[in-house]
Amino acid sequence: MVDIYDFYDKMERNNIMLSFKGDITAELLTSILQIMESKLDTMQEQPKTKKKVYNVLVECLQNLYHHMDEIPRSLNGISITTGTGENIRSAIFMIGKMDNEYNIVTGNYILSKNVEVLQTRLDEINKLSKEELKDYYKAVLNNGQMSAKGGGGLGMIDIARKTGQKLKYNFMPIDDMYSFFSLNIKITPQ
């Protein structure tokens, strides 16, 4: 049995406002956004901070929704029992506020063969200045095609632009096929 106090203690110490593990469906996304919106209202954040947090949250969650890779039921010694079917979708998401700074953390499985492409993309974005990001956003918006998954390749650029910070990420190899991708986004109200 899990030590629930240990969980609680870690979440409390990190000031986690909301966390979720499992499949990210459209319905779940709607619920998370509704909960977060009322929490931000209760915290009486400035409208522009509230909007920034909400916008970045939407992009982070929709990134998970569109891009997380399916994994087999048994992976890395864990046998996942939730959901139906042979393959499942599972991810983790957390949002917290520490020292006046919002933290959004997401984690999802990715096929290891796709790691390089994503890492290169993130590194490219991290190299750009504020002005370069603006130009890059406009170029992708104007010339880029919409992917079959519905994303336009703008999500990460938009997150980098709105937060004004580098995208902090990590890839952890799980087995010979899968890696775990984590993204840590900070939003500092001005």
Binding site: K48, K51, K52, L141, N142, G152, K162
Partner: protein, 126 residues
């Protein structure tokens, strides 16, 4: 040809397009997972409208939030408007943003830089 009215939801905006007056309004929030599907009727209607537009086409965009998936569809709409404008019909895009919402103002300026249609940035007081 008839106009279009779409009621807003927590994830999609209210859209009103009155083709008899040339008024198009998009208002609310636009954060659907699949924005292409949502915007398809309005993009198609604009295509037909462009064949015989009003002398003046007046567009009001008043969005609280929009996701990057919607941003491409909004650009598609603006490109249709650009074609109408290029054909010699007066067209204006009024881009509303809430006071202090620099992100939304910047988003409007991004479109303004891409689309050859007169833009008017309108700051809404709280």
């Amino acid at each position: 040809m008839e106009g279009i009215t779409i009621e807003g939801t927590p994830k999609t905006p209210t859209i009103n397009f009155d083709i008899a007056t040339g008024h198009l309004e998009i208002k609310g929030r636009s954060i659907p997972e699949n924005s292409i599907e949502f915007y398809k009727p309005i993009v198609e209607l604009l295509d037909r409208y462009a064949a015989k537009p009003q002398a003046n086409t007046n567009v009001k965009i008043q969005l609280e939030y929009f996701n990057t998936s919607s941003s491409k569809c909004i650009l598609d709409i603006f490109k249709k408007l650009e074609a109408i404008h290029k054909a010699g019909n007066a067209t204006i895009i009024n881009w509303h943003y809430e006071q202090d919402d620099e992100d939304m103002l910047e988003a409007g300026e991004d479109y303004q830089a891409i689309i050859a249609v007169p833009f008017k940035m309108i700051e809404e007081a709280d």
